[in-house]
Symmetry: C2
Subunit: 430 residues, 2 copies
Amino acid sequence: MDKIKVGLCGLGTVGTGVVRVLADHKERIIHKLGCEVEITKILVNDVLKERDVIIDRQWLTDQPDELVKDKDIDVIVEVMGGVDGTKELLEEALKNKKHIVTANKDLMALHGRELLQLARENHCDILFDASIAGGIPIVRTLVDGLASDHIEKVMGIVNGTTNFIMTKMTDEGLPFDDVLKEAQRLGFAEADPTSDVEGLDAARKMTLLANLAFKMEVNLDDVEVKGITKVTQDDINFAHSLGYTIKLIGIAAMHDQKVEVMVEPTLLPKDHPLASVKNEFNAVYVYGDAVGETMFYGPGAGSLPTATAVVSDLMEVIRNIRLGISGNTYQEPQFKRKIKASEEKYSKHFIRLEVEDQAGAFQEITNIFTDHQVSFQKILQLPIETDQKAEIVMITHKISKAQLEKSLQALEKIAVVDRIISYYRVDGEE
Amino acid sequence: MDKIKVGLCGLGTVGTGVVRVLADHKERIIHKLGCEVEITKILVNDVLKERDVIIDRQWLTDQPDELVKDKDIDVIVEVMGGVDGTKELLEEALKNKKHIVTANKDLMALHGRELLQLARENHCDILFDASIAGGIPIVRTLVDGLASDHIEKVMGIVNGTTNFIMTKMTDEGLPFDDVLKEAQRLGFAEADPTSDVEGLDAARKMTLLANLAFKMEVNLDDVEVKGITKVTQDDINFAHSLGYTIKLIGIAAMHDQKVEVMVEPTLLPKDHPLASVKNEFNAVYVYGDAVGETMFYGPGAGSLPTATAVVSDLMEVIRNIRLGISGNTYQEPQFKRKIKASEEKYSKHFIRLEVEDQAGAFQEITNIFTDHQVSFQKILQLPIETDQKAEIVMITHKISKAQLEKSLQALEKIAVVDRIISYYRVDGEE
């Protein structure tokens, strides 16, 4: 029987998990692939360290070249993390015609496109579902499925840290800073949480998903990004009283061959499927001609789900080797990069204003919106008890981003508006 | 290049969709399989009828034998519907070593196990994801995934008709009979809706899923089935006021090597992911050791999603042929049939009682529950305005089905209880 040889980079919790899953499912894997899978080398920092899993110590090495230049190795599984050195290692592996499976979210988010390009040039596969949304096979769905020619919109929760924080803020009424500290204590947020809470990690993932879904070269700069650090309890409560939940949502949509990609705190109707995705869970919604709406929901993190996703990707790579179709997974970008201008980005918006509580103020404000052809679905006006102030909370009908921005600029200039407290996109309903 | 030859049975909307999807995705399919796929025969009732799709008329035949006995045909795709004749056709095909893809939900629900057995005996594949929950690849997830050795619970909405009815009853406050008529008018319910609304269709699907998930021989008789015909607006409203939504939910769970399977109107917390699955959509939740919680959500019906699911299954069958692993998909049942007794089936329950509004009544009732060691999480007591009656609405803590039944029997015997209005299972929370 054929044997596929694998070089494993990294033997931390995920790497250990990969060794275990491969051992535990040996029979089933032979059954599903028609061949055996064998790890023959493992790259580690310390070859002498005691390991918590049964391995042949002769597999261990601290020399990357022993893996990437080993003629017998077919696939490199990278679960060691890191960006710069790891990127070079994988580039070297691709140049040596090794297929790759990686769970490295930072690496794929930062250099995914280059690596995909290099893989195509070398007719190699590079699979990375474990790096995007934990257990959810979203990459496979976008590039593999028959439905994938007609994807209109991908919308999801692709960052577990921010979803954990938004859930706690919503359910327990705690402020951002307190929840962030709890998330750090529980290991759901890193010591420097910037790239998560500012929406950058999600934006990078959405960039990659947009590239794959629409077969168009979309860059990180094309993504509108707004983090969750300024979301307040008042925002959450007003949204709630109007029937919405606030989540950090990534959206990539294509319409008339033009694309828009954004990551923003977004109001979703409470009964939208994404609204019920809690804590560190991830979920991605795909809208397409052929399939209608589909959603995948799964754990955003965890070493066992990640190891399982890695081994699933590994099996797919091996299947492709055996079918003689390696390197066919990702198509070259087929469409010219066309990004929507602000005038073409339509959405409903939630807007909160602090205004002077005086006769005519409300009318002055609505006049400005009318000038910009902005109309409303819902308006709440309420006095602010301590001052001579009032607060106005509004949900607009669908307007362009340009309309929104111009209206807000005009509002800032009139005296009755003290400040624009906050504004967010509203999605997930007609 | 290799060519895989397919015989298509049925050329209605789904069959036409299959022809179109195969034509539209010709290049992509070659890319993903490394071979061509060609339909060479189509079984129809009327070979002379005009068709709404480009086909070679020489493909058409009204003789099943021309497909199942054609030595060149590798795979039979069955999208013609029907049970008895169709079953024989597929049996004949399997005996002639043809692999099968089917979208026939009644056939698989009624005879799935026999057909799987026959497929195993003939080392053939039979794939049927299009027959269970529309676009959701749930069968593949249960039998294929690496996580599938450790599935603890499968829970889902697997019948679009009843979910449509429950959604309309909940959102629009209409009674069952009116909503059923609307569903029939819109084509979401059949003229004879019994097998849907009584939960039978869902029970058959859950039987099949339980067999696959737990690798145990589970029979339709093992499933507790309760339909939605008796669910009232009052049930829905009281559930709502306690924080729950009522859905027709199928559950298959394994604990200590013992299985329970049920299809019942079930109260779910409003923020549970399944609670937001509306209208004719289907969704299945899988809980397992290795993956944690995952959910798939998709359209329950529609000819294009079904055709897409059929072609996905067809591609999987062809991949297996080319890998030389056909017939490996379903394992023989590995475990002896062990079904939980009522004493072992634990759950929370929602109970509504109509009682005499008199001193001591409440205490008499709670005494009975205490005798059976039933305790409560929530109790509402409210007068019924027109009578000297009161209504008591309760959510129990987890109790066994035996405890529930014995308590209800005892309550029926005491004078202060006029009637047990309704009772339902509560799930989806700790």
